[in-house]
C-alpha cells in the first residue's frame, strides 16, 4: 500500500470539504481539480490492491499487475504518442465519425424538416423511422460487414445509423412544435414556400436541431469503438481490442479509453459553440 497515494487522497478529500468556504468562481476551479486528484489516488490504490505475486521455485518472484496504475497508464499513453498510433488512430476514428455524422445530418435534417412540415411525408416516413430507431446501431454490425466488408464504409454506416435517428426525430419534433402564429404570420406576409422554409421553419427549428446534433454526435462517438472492434485495422476502438488480444496490454486499453473520453468532451464542446450563434441563442435561454 503506498502511503503517498493515501495521503494524496486524504488531502484531496479535505480540499473538497474545505472548498465550501470559497467563492463560487474559486469552487469552479478547486472542485474539479480536487475531485480529479482524489479519483486518481483511489484509482492508484485500487490498482495496487489487484497486484499479486507469482513465486515459481527456482525463479525470481514476479509481480503481476492486473489493472494498470495511473503511472503505468501515463507511460502507455507516451508510448502511443511516440510510436504515432495515438494520432493515427484518433484521426482514423474522427474521420469515420465525421463522415458518418455529416452524412446523417445532410440527410436527416432535410428529411426531418419535410416530415415535420408535411403530414403526408410524416405518414410515409415516421413509422419506419420510429421502428428502426430503437434498434441499436450495433445490431447492424453483421449486416454492415456483409454489405461493405471490413472497410471504413462499414464503420461509417454504423456511425451514420447511430446519429441519423436522433437528427431526424429531433428535427421533426422541432418543426411540429413550432407555434402556429409563426406560420400564420409567414402566410400573412405572403411568403412563398422556399421563403417560408428559409425564413421561418428552419430558423424556428434550429435550436432543437442543434440539440439533436449534439445528441447525435455523442451517440456517434459512443458507437465508434464497437464499430471499429469488428476487424477494422485502425482507430481507437481497434486499439482497445488489439491491446488486449496482443499481450493483455490493459495499460494501453485504459490509455485509449481516456483518449476517447477526452475527444468526446472536445466534440461536445465544439457542437455547444453552435448554441452561441446570435440567431439561435433565443432557444437556449430561459426568459
Amino acid at each position: 500500500m503506498s502511503l503517498g497515494a493515501l495521503v494524496t487522497a486524504a488531502l484531496a478529500a479535505v480540499a473538497i470539504v474545505a472548498s465550501r468556504g470559497l467563492r463560487q468562481r474559486a469552487q469552479a476551479v478547486v472542485l474539479p481539480i480536487a475531485t480529479g486528484v482524489l479519483l486518481l489516488a483511489l484509482w492508484h490504490l485500487w490498482a495496487e490492491s489487484t497486484r499479486y505475486q507469482i513465486a515459481t521455485p527456482g525463479e525470481p518472484v514476479r509481480t503481476v499487475e492486473v489493472f494498470p496504475t495511473p503511472e503505468r497508464t501515463l507511460v502507455a499513453f507516451r508510448e502511443l504518442l511516440s510510436d504515432g498510433r495515438l494520432v493515427r488512430y484518433s484521426i482514423a476514428s474522427l474521420f469515420r465519425v465525421a463522415v458518418g455524422f455529416l452524412l446523417a445530418a445532410a440527410i436527416g435534417i432535410p428529411l426531418g424538416l419535410w416530415a415535420g412540415w408535411s403530414t403526408r411525408a410524416s405518414y410515409s416516413i415516421n413509422p419506419f423511422v420510429q421502428a428502426l430507431r430503437p434498434i441499436s446501431p450495433l445490431a447492424w454490425i453483421p449486416i454492415a460487414t456483409l454489405a461493405f466488408g471490413i472497410r471504413d464504409e462499414a464503420a461509417i454506416f454504423i456511425i451514420f445509423l447511430g446519429s441519423f435517428f436522433p437528427i431526424v426525430t429531433g428535427t421533426m419534433t422541432a418543426v411540429r412544435s413550432m407555434p402556429v402564429a409563426y406560420v400564420r404570420s409567414a402566410h400573412n406576409f405572403g411568403l412563398r414556400k422556399f421563403e417560408l422554409l428559409a425564413h421561418v421553419v428552419f430558423p424556428a427549428a434550429l435550436p432543437q436541431i442543434i440539440t439533436s446534433l449534439r445528441i447525435a454526435l455523442g451517440v456517434a462517438w459512443l458507437v465508434i469503438v464497437a464499430a471499429e472492434m469488428n476487424a477494422i485495422q485502425s482507430g481507437l476502438g481497434f486499439l482497445i481490442v488489439d491491446a488486449r488480444n496482443m499481450g493483455m496490454r490493459y495499460d494501453l486499453v485504459v490509455a485509449a479509453m481516456l483518449v476517447i473520453g477526452a475527444i468526446g468532451i472536445g466534440l461536445d464542446f465544439l457542437v455547444r459553440r453552435l448554441e452561441r450563434i446570435d440567431s439561435v441563442r433565443w432557444g437556449f435561454t430561459k426568459e
Binding site: 402564429a181 409563426y182 404570420s185 402566410h187 406576409f189 430558423p203 446570435d278
Partner: protein, 258 residues
C-alpha cells in the same frame, strides 16, 4: 336608414351571417352564431367581450386563417379565403420572430423588394416606433412594449389596408399599455388604415375605438355596437365617457358600479 350593424362610411369589411363551430370529441360547440358586422374604411373598431366568447375566432376568420361554417366575409367586395398581405394580423405573442433582429423582423413582408427600398422602409418604421439604435437587437433583448412595437412596425411596413390585432397590449404592464395606446392612436391617425382590435378591457376600447363591438358568449353573438363619438384625447373623467362606459358594461351584463 341603415342596418344597425352598418358602418357609418363606405364599408371596407362586410360580415354576413358568420357562424363557426368547433368539434371537441363528440361534442359540437357553436362559437359564433350568425354574426353581422360592417367596418368602414379607415375606421378603428374594437371588439370587446368576455374571455371565451369567440373574439379571437372572429378575428382569425377575418384574417383568413380559418374557414367559417356559414356566412361570408367580404373585404372590398371580395370574399376572404386566405391570409393576404393587404391585411396584416398582429398576434399577442409569438408574433415576431425571436431568431431575427428588429430589422429582419420588420423586413419580413419586404423580402422581394430591392434591398435599397427595403432599407428605407425599415428605417422609416423603426423611426415611427422610436426604436432607433435597436435595429440589430434580437427580440429577446427587448422589453415587452418594444416587442409589441416591432410587431406593429412589421405590420405597417407593408402598408396594409387593414390591421387586425388580437389583444396586442394584453401582455403589457398597465403603464406600458397606456403609452402604447397613445402610440397606436398616433400611428392610426397618421396612416389612417382600418383597424380591428380585440380586447377585453372596457377602457382600452373606449380610448381607441370609433365603434365598440360588444360580444356575449356561448354562442358568441353581437350584443350591441356602441359608437364613441368623442374627440381624442378622451377624458376618462368626463360624463360622456362614463355614460358610454356604463352602456358597455350593461351590454356585457356586468354592473358598472364596482
Amino acid at each position: 336608414m341603415s342596418a344597425p350593424n352598418a358602418a357609418a362610411g363606405d364599408p371596407k369589411v362586410v360580415v354576413r351571417g358568420l357562424s363557426k363551430r368547433f368539434r371537441r370529441g363528440r361534442e359540437e360547440m357553436l362559437v359564433l352564431d350568425a354574426i353581422d358586422l360592417e367596418i368602414a374604411r379607415g375606421e378603428f373598431v374594437c371588439i370587446l367581450g368576455p374571455s371565451g366568447c369567440g373574439k379571437s375566432t372572429l378575428l382569425n376568420l377575418l384574417g383568413g386563417f380559418e374557414e367559417a361554417d356559414a356566412g361570408t366575409i367580404l373585404i372590398d367586395g371580395e370574399k376572404v379565403t386566405r391570409p393576404d398581405p393587404r391585411r396584416i394580423f398582429v398576434f399577442q405573442d409569438y408574433g415576431i420572430f425571436p431568431w431575427a433582429t428588429v430589422r429582419e423582423n420588420i423586413a419580413l413582408g419586404l423580402l422581394r423588394r430591392p434591398a435599397k427600398e427595403r432599407e428605407e422602409i425599415v428605417a422609416r418604421y423603426v423611426e415611427l416606433i422610436g426604436l432607433q439604435g435597436f435595429e440589430d437587437s434580437y427580440p429577446g433583448e427587448l422589453s415587452g412594449g418594444m416587442k409589441q412595437r416591432v410587431a406593429v412596425a412589421r405590420a405597417l411596413a407593408v402598408s396594409p389596408e387593414i390591421v387586425f390585432m388580437d389583444e396586442p397590449l394584453g401582455a403589457l404592464d398597465s403603464l406600458t399599455r397606456l403609452s402604447m395606446r397613445r402610440e397606436l392612436l398616433r400611428i392610426w391617425q397618421r396612416e389612417r388604415m382600418t383597424i380591428a382590435l380585440v380586447t377585453h378591457d372596457v377602457d382600452e376600447s373606449l380610448q381607441l375605438a370609433d365603434r365598440v363591438v360588444v360580444m356575449t358568449s356561448r354562442p358568441g353573438r353581437i350584443a350591441g355596437i356602441v359608437p364613441v363619438a368623442l374627440p381624442h384625447p378622451r377624458d376618462p373623467g368626463s360624463p360622456a365617457y362614463n355614460a358610454l362606459k356604463r352602456q358597455l358594461f350593461e351590454l356585457l351584463g356586468v354592473r358598472a358600479d364596482v
